[in-house]
Amino acid sequence: MRNMMVIARREFMAYFNSPIAYVFMVVFLLLSSLNFVLAEHFFLVNQATMRPFFESLPWIFIVLVPAVAMRLWSEEKKSGTLELLLTLPMRHVEIMIGKFLAAWAFVALTVLLTLPMVFFVSMMGELDWGPVIGGYVAAILMGGAYLAIGMFVSALTKNQILSYVGAAVVCLCFVVMGQGNVLHSMNDMLPQAVHVFTSASFVPHFENISRGVIDTKDLVHFASVILLFLGLNYLVLDTRRHA
């Protein structure tokens, strides 16, 4: 536990030692607030709701979360610091989880920076707090799932660009799988797969939680994506030693 925190603290600080953190946060805030302005009905509907914001998150995350994850292993591989990191007297699981937690905390912090937006919206009318709280919980969970994917891809290459693109593509698949038209055409070709696609995709689970309905099934989905990709990540770390 202590080992994990030592690693996590360094990783977390590393984001703020470079401009990446600030750029990331600003871009995220711009993109997510832009959604309010552009959402056609937001001002017309005249209803205080955070829905446009939450609905855009699966897409915004595709572009932004891989940028947080890409450096986690690639940078260490490229610069050679991986050698010092992995010869510290810690289990490699602890190092991996420490890194993951740091990146996750960073994503969570960024998401929470939008809270002032909530207060702004709540001033405009009666805000239903259930979906807002659910939305934030779901956003942070989903961010973790994106990160686990990105970190796994990052373990495969020392090229950060490749790591970014690879992670974005995998995340995109997880989002698109749940889109209506994809499911429709799936239904024609391979009806059995529709159920698999719906339950694997992030979007339906994200929408469930962000409706304010916190169901174990949806929590388990994100938890299993995180665990699956961390597990794969560990395998990559382990096979590297035997290469």
Binding site: M13, A14, L86, T87, L88, P89, R241, A243
Partner: protein, 312 residues
Amino acid sequence: MIEVHELTKTYGDLVAVNRVSFKIDRGEIVGLLGPNGAGKTTTIRVLTTFLAPTAGRLTVAGHDVEKDPLEVRRKLGYLPESAPLYEDMRVRDYLRFVADARRVPRTARHARISYVADHCGLRGVMGRPISELSKGYRQRVGLAQALVHDPEIVVLDEPTSGLDPNQIVEIRNLIRDIGRQKTVILSTHILQEVAALCSRIIVIHRGKIVADGSQAGLREQADKESVFFIAVEAEPAEVAARLGAVQGVKAVEKADGEALPGFHRFRLLADKSADIAPRLHQCVTGNKWRMSELSKLSVTLEDVFRKLTRDE
């Protein structure tokens, strides 16, 4: 302290290290010497648990690298090749991170960091980001992080590569200092380095150990033969035949190099006995040749190294 038994490491079809065995005792400063690509770094990476051995058994202070890697890592301080460091961190923060990661007790942390900072000459740069440091300072930070937890064994991979001559001298002095208290293994392809620092030299070539011993021992080993140069004014074929017949001479070959007009220069390989030169002289005067040179080549560590690592 360190035992390597029949270590083999392959990358696909490439055999990087081939059944290497050696033992290192407490307090030794051992140099792994070999040309680039000989298998030094691979050996070190297995020893530090960064890579798994393909075959063989390695123990560090009695702990097996495969069964008990955490204990092995605890015993070691390690500076990998080209001193990879977190560029974005300040020197002080970086050393704190390593101290925490290596479980230096909180109460001792400040004292340990001050100690290594003084020892490695980092006092003036503690607040600077590592990315702004010169190569020489980076190497010192690398050494400092390898020492901060006061390990019993220090492993240094090419500790002076890429440094200018002044920096090399500084880092060598530091390593010599470290060697007074700890067991040190360093790898290098620079002969002068081991000659200057190490009590023992292990020469690796193409993944195999080709020599292991003290400097004097290595010279002795290669010194079984002596080499003479001789230049005389006579028919080359005749000279070769006559000199070849001298007792103790094993081979005669035509040598390059400056000789007076009409003179020919030869390289002789002879048994290592004291009276070869007088006998050669006798042969020359007996044949009434005029001689312009008779010299004995003294064997340097460099000759030994080149002989051991020549690709034929």
